[in-house]
């Protein structure tokens, strides 16, 4: 294992994050505050508690997931796409670094940044609502697994993307609808039966549901099923990545 290389990539990526720290931190804090003002205060005051949880608290896990997914996919994809775009990828490819080490460096940095922002959202949320976490270790498990899985997903998007339009296609057009329709702001029990059934095809539902369960012990689906779904998605991504490494798809051809 070339640990020096993993460290180099990781810290190089984190240095990029440090350079844009203000933008990285202030922007999610402002948008989260706006969500709480609009949904928590304005709309939430007219909505009854959901299964004994105030509406403001209920939407917190969904908001954290929304940010975590967006940040991890964005960081994971940009991290590998940027060297491809500028041409500096030659250095990574000609170094004595295995693809596993490349992934550890890039995905590790993307997940770290995503989790940092996620924790900032959690801290911001706690300024607006009373929050308690029923199962901190389960919460941490969902949090870390989701960050790693979606950073890996972003990494694959970054390898696949040929231009900035493709790079932003999934993070901008696919992820937000999935998160919004995945029960971020409501319980799917509030939907008509047909849309409840449709929602079960949305993978993000399982992430939000499991994550919310770790806070309030309320869930749209069994948390074990949620965990299984995340692990299954992670396994699919790792399989895809193995194929990419073996063939050199869009990297070594």
């Amino acid at each position: 294992m070339n640990l020096e290389a993993v460290k180099s990539i990781y810290f190089f990526e984190m240095a990029r994050t440090r350079r844009t720290l203000l933008q990285s931190v202030v922007s999610p804090v402002i948008s989260t505050s706006l969500y709480f003002i609009v949904f928590g205060a304005a709309v939430g005051s007219r909505i009854q508690e959901i299964e004994g949880v105030s509406y403001g608290a209920f939407i917190t896990p969904g908001l954290i997931m929304l940010t975590l997914l967006t940040q991890c996919i964005g960081n994971g994809s940009f991290g590998i796409y940027f060297p491809k775009f500028t041409g500096t990828i030659y250095e990574i490819l000609s170094s004595p670094v295995s693809m596993t080490e490349i992934v550890l460096g890039y995905v590790g940095a993307a997940a770290t940044k995503g989790m940092m922002i996620g924790l900032i959202i959690l801290a911001t949320a706690s300024l607006f609502v009373d929050l308690s976490i029923a199962h901190p270790f389960v919460m941490l498990l969902f949090f870390v697994l989701t960050a790693v899985t979606f950073s890996l997903f972003g990494f694959i998007i970054g390898i696949w993307a040929k231009d900035f339009e493709q790079l932003n296609l999934i993070p901008m057009l696919v992820i937000p609808p999935l998160v919004f329709l995945g029960g971020s702001f409501y319980s799917i029990d509030m939907l008509p039966p047909f849309w409840q059934a449709v929602s079960h095809f949305n993978p993000v539902l399982y992430l939000i549901s499991g994550f919310r369960w770790s806070f309030f012990e309320i869930a749209d689906v069994n948390p074990v099923v949620s965990l299984t779904i995340i692990i299954a998605f992670l396994a699919v991504l790792m399989g895809l990545l193995t194929w990419i490494f073996r063939t050199g798809y869009r990297l070594r051809n």
């Binding site: 290389a5 190089f12 041409g87 250095e91």
Partner: protein
């Protein structure tokens, strides 16, 4: 002594069907400077990219220091430094950080003393805290060399190192290459500039259409293929070459004021003495005589032109 780089029957066909390398074989000896000459699309960069691990070969074998570049990639890539053709840099990084990053990528522990030495050797030390975007093109080129040297490689690939660089900087770069050679680093450079190969290379390879056309010691190549030209300036211009001189295959230049005679120095007889006698017998009065050795450029054009 076993070659430091050995390429055997290398073939690369891209997904588009374009065959960039067609059964290329060559050996590179430790400590030498090899210049690979070739026109655009000849296959130079593909060859380097495969040796360095950036591009997968379709078939064939490449060994560096006795190790296979695919199976033993850690060993081979640790030995190699690569300076790419394009000025590809992280614009928002400092010189020091980007060079240190390269060292780390190659699995080497941080060594500020070595990084300092490399930067000083390349006259970059006073720019160590500058961001790359603040540097000139020539400075960026030096940073790429510093990055390639950060992990103390045994083999250095310079892909068009002086492309788009002004004459002074090009000469500076040659000095850098010369200094590197003194440290024992094997250098393989691709270039469009024949004078560059002529100036610094020990051996010259010519590649075109994905094939190595020849690879020889520069001196031997110049001797073997080098032709000389005798230029005879006349007192009175000639409109046609007299019948008695037809066997010399002379050409007329400068509106008849000069006659050009090509001869091969490797030949037993150059024909100069008989030509001068024949000129005198034909009553042609001479003003001046000069000779010119054909350059590597002439040889290159002749080779590539003949086999295109």
């Amino acid at each position: 002594m076993a070659p430091i780089v050995s390429v055997s029957n290398l073939v690369k066909t891209y997904a588009s069907g374009f065959q960039a390398l067609k059964d290329v074989s060559l050996d590179i000896e430790e400590g030498e400077i090899l210049a690979l000459l070739g026109p655009n699309g000849a296959g130079k960069t593909t060859l380097i990219s495969i040796i360095c691990g950036i591009v997968n070969p379709t078939s064939g074998e490449v060994r560096v220091g006795g190790h296979d570049v695919v199976k033993d990639f850690r060993e081979t890539r640790s030995m190699i430094g690569l300076v790419p053709q394009e000025l590809t840099t992280d614009q928002f990084e400092t010189v020091w950080n980007t060079v240190s990053f390269s060292r780390g990528l190659h699995g080497r522990k941080p060594n500020p003393a070595h990084i300092e030495k490399v930067l000083k050797d390349l006259s970059l030390y006073d720019k160590k805290d500058n961001m790359l975007r603040e540097l000139s093109g020539g400075m960026k080129r030096r940073v790429l060399i510093a990055k390639a040297l950060s992990h103390e490689p045994r083999v250095l690939f310079l892909d068009e190192p002086t492309a788009g660089v002004d004459v002074n900087l090009r000469k500076d770069m040659w000095k850098v290459v010369e200094k590197l050679r003194e440290t024992g680093v094997t250098i393989i450079l691709t270039t469009h500039y024949i004078e560059e190969a002529e100036e610094i290379a020990d051996r010259v390879g010519v590649i075109n259409g994905g094939k190595i056309l020849l690879i020889e010691q520069k001196k031997d190549l110049m001797k073997k293929l080098g032709r000389k030209e005798l230029r005879v300036d006349l007192q009175e211009p000639l409109s046609i070459i007299p019948e008695t001189l037809a066997g010399y295959e002379l050409t007329i230049e400068d509106d008849g004021h000069s006659l050009i005679y090509d001869y091969n120095t490797a030949g037993e007889r150059t024909g100069i003495t008989t030509l001068l006698t024949a000129l005198a017998e034909a009553g042609i009065r001479l003003k001046d005589i000069s000779t010119r050795q054909s350059s590597l450029e002439d040889i290159f054009v002749e080779l590539v032109g003949a086999r295109a």
